[in-house]
């Protein structure tokens, strides 16, 4: 583009041409060159021209142009002498560049500057700054602006009133918004829809419905219907109401259909979702992605994949839905294949979500090499690690066995949040580094970082794996008494596990008896497991019977019971339990191990005879005479 400068026939005396060139710029380098030209040509002093520059560039999608517009404004216009009651349209353009852009808070600062200098604000300035406040949740400042609005006697403008409703609703002040709404002499569809949307988003579907029903028909539009439908669809029990509205609505658009499908997916009603999907006059990526996600949530990855393959023009969202579906159902290899395909295809660039999903897949599969590659990609593209990506990386390294790398990533993150701490504590737990995990909890206390219930689960797990009973009890009390976190079933489960593994079976049993909430099967099974390990049939047998009573289809309870009997050589009882399992058609989950060598994963079941090298393997295990085979390098 800039090669055009070499042509001496360009009309450099034209501001119009310069403006056109400016609009073609994309980087600050480009802009700087035109700026230089503006200075040398004297155009920079032409207020008409600079005004046009400001108004044209302030709404550009390219940040360097927006920044240039702001620079020109503050250098040339903001502080010059002005007429009284001059139209603040340039100020408004700059405020808008902030209120609708990436730093909405700055809009308020510019507005305050306007007031300070004595520039006349108009209703547009007010509407823009109210929008900025609603985006950032600055309700107090918004109320001050509300006051200013009233003082300026601009309170009767409907669109400003709507901005105010928007502000209060987005800041969560629903009652205040409703009071204001009720006092409005006239309202339009925007007023109603803002209130309805506000009620829906905070879960008050009944108030939303009340407003919707008393809305005058001429104001009711597609947005109103869609808000109600999506509000009902998101509730577990709102499906019927959503369907009813859906069938009644005078016209539908893509959002209506997608909201209904989303509602079906949330209830697991895939047949209804499929019917809607077929009926839809048009589908978009969201429709396909919702369907894929819906099938995956039900475990039907085959159907999800069939849809994915059928889809015309796949995009990142659909790929993410498919990858996520695979990961949810444990198909890590397939998830990684999708990611690989995404990287190969030119128009499918993995986005933030893709990276999170693939890191999750790698954590499950244990392929640390792929994890290192993703880490490299994140580093090369300067992804900040103080968000979800950092957490996912720590988790991936932990689950792939590289706790040192996990700790290293954790230490490098600037601006850690509680999720990062949780990820590293969990990693330490599964590596048996319980003392370190407990130390980290103490460190969090020192740094006044508020632990959450997941932090405590991690620390309790860590204590359980290493037998730190005292620390576990301390942690539990810390959670309950100091941080006032109500222990959940998982916390109780961890405590039973800690006590049980250390052999304090009676204490564990008493702990369960003292629980204020009903223990679930996981907790009983922890106790049963501990009984089996410490050969305590007295406590163990009734627990096993109780577990079998709770859920007669879970084979592990039977197995633990039979193993306990076997440990006491009570073979008749072992046989009795095994017969019970057979009668109920239950099979023990067979032990299975995986090993990855040179990119291929080899699977071994107990007594496996299907692997290619099985002969050699068995001979090594049986035959004592060939020790050298164990140290021969691979061919």
């Amino acid at each position: 583009m800039l090669a055009v400068f070499a042509n001496s026939n360009q009309q450099w005396n034209s501001t119009h041409q310069t403006l056109l060139l400016l609009q073609k710029c994309k980087t600050s380098n480009d802009v700087n060159q035109i700026h230089a030209r503006m200075i040398t040509s004297g155009f920079i002093n032409n207020t008409n021209f600079t005004s046009k520059v400001i108004t044209t560039l302030s709404s550009s999608p390219y940040m360097p142009l927006v920044e240039f517009a702001r620079y020109v404004f503050f250098a040339r216009h903001a502080f010059r002498m002005r007429k009284k009651r001059e139209d603040p349209y340039l100020w408004n353009a700059i405020i808008k560049s902030y209120s609708h852009g990436v730093e909405p808070k700055q809009a308020l600062i510019v507005f305050c500057l306007m007031l300070e200098i004595g520039v006349c604000v108009d209703k547009f300035s007010l509407s823009l700054v109210l929008k900025a406040c609603s985006r950032v949740g600055l309700v107090k400042e918004g109320m001050q602006i509300h006051g200013l609005l009233r003082k300026m006697e601009l309170g009767s403008y409907l669109f400003l009133q709507n901005c105010l409703i928007g502000l209060y609703v987005k800041c969560g002040c629903l009652e205040f918004a409703r009071q204001f709404f009720d006092r409005m002499p006239t309202r339009d569809s925007v007023s109603f829809n803002s209130m309805i949307d506000g009620y829906v988003k905070c879960g008050n579907i009944d108030s939303a419905r009340e407003l919707f029903d008393c809305m005058p028909t001429k104001e009711k539009n597609l947005i109103s219907w869609n808000s109600m439908i999506s509000g009902y669809a998101k509730l577990g029990d709102g499906f019927e109401s959503a369907s009813e509205l859906f069938e009644k609505m005078p016209e539908r658009d893509l959002i209506s259909w997608n909201s209904m499908i989303d509602g079906c997916v949330k209830c697991g009603k895939m047949n209804d979702a499929q019917a809607l999907f077929k009926r839809m006059p048009k589908r978009d990526v969201v429709s396909w992605a919702n369907m894929i996600d819906g099938y995956a949530k039900l475990g039907r990855v085959d159907l999800a994949r069939a849809l994915f393959d059928q889809m015309p023009g796949r995009d990142v969202i659909a790929c993410n839905a498919m990858m996520g579906g695979y990961v949810q159902n444990g198909y890590c290899k397939e998830a990684l294949e999708i990611f690989h395909d995404m990287q190969c295809e030119r128009d499918l660039c993995p986005n933030d979500t893709s990276l999170l999903i693939v890191l999750s897949a790698i954590a499950q599969s244990g392929h640390v090499d792929k994890g290192i590659a993703i880490h490299g990609y994140l580093a090369k593209n300067e992804f900040p690690l103080n968000g979800k990506h950092g957490v996912a990386l720590i988790d991936m390294y932990s689950k792939c066995g590289s706790i040192e790398d996990a700790i290293s990533v954790f230490e490098d993150v600037e601006g850690k949040n509680v999720d990062h701490w949780n990820a590293v504590i969990n990693g330490l737990a599964i590596h048996g580094l319980g003392e370190l995990a407990f130390d980290l909890l103490m460190e969090m206390e020192r740094l006044s970082i508020e632990p959450d219930d997941i932090t405590f689960i991690g620390v309790l797990h860590a204590c359980g794996h290493v037998g730190l009973v005292k620390e576990g009890l301390l942690c539990f009390e810390l959670m309950r008494r100091i941080h006032k976190v109500e222990p959940k079933l998982q916390h109780y489960g961890c405590m039973v596990d800690i006590l049980g593994r250390a052999g304090h079976i009676e204490e564990a049993r008493n702990f369960i008896d003292d629980m204020p909430i009903e223990p679930n099967d996981v907790i009983w099974r922890s106790l049963l497991s501990a009984c089996k390990n410490h050969n305590n049939l007295n406590v163990g047998e009734p627990v096993a019977e109780r577990l079998i009573g709770m859920d007669s289809s879970n084979s592990s309870s039977y197995v633990l019971l039979s193993n306990m009997f076997a440990g006491h050589s009570m073979w008749n009882d072992v046989r009795r339990v095994r017969v019970m399992m057979k009668e109920r058609n239950l099979k023990k989950i067979p032990g299975c191990s995986w090993i990855e060598l040179e990119g291929i994963v080899h699977e071994f079941f107990v007594q496996n005879k299907s692997h290619l090298q099985v002969g050699e393997i068995y001979s090594t295990l049986d035959n004592p005479g060939t020790p050298s085979s164990l140290v021969t390098p691979c061919n």
Binding site: V466, C592, I595, L597, V606, Q613, L621, P624
Partner: protein, 100 residues
């Protein structure tokens, strides 16, 4: 197997929870999936490389003991990720401290 026996490994028959002869019990223990995977790994990888195994259930006591011996005798680091946690076997010791 002979080498680890010489180092002091004796199959812990308590982990073979079936009502059968001792010899059969020994044979049954010897074909647990972790042992199969570890031997395969030893056979197919170079000296000094780490062997990584993943198991769907909790590692049994006998396999745990055997793997400790194997790691000592073959001078290899073996990492086993079971359903609950990691076990790093190196030079005859496991990171879990035999508490798992």
């Amino acid at each position: 197997m002979d080498r680890i026996r010489r180092e002091g490994y004796t199959p812990d028959l308590n982990f073979a929870l079936h009502d059968v002869e001792e010899e059969t019990k020994e044979k049954m223990l010897s074909v647990h999936s972790e042992k199969l995977a570890i031997v395969f790994g030893l056979m197919n990888s170079g000296p000094g490389s780490v062997i990584r195994i993943k198991k769907n259930l909790r590692v049994c006591g006998d396999c745990h003991t055997a793997t400790k011996f194997i790691s000592k005798v073959t001078e290899r680091e073996i990492i086993v990720r079971d359903a609950l946690r990691f076990h790093h076997f190196k030079e005859g010791i496991c990171s879990c401290g035999d508490y798992w």
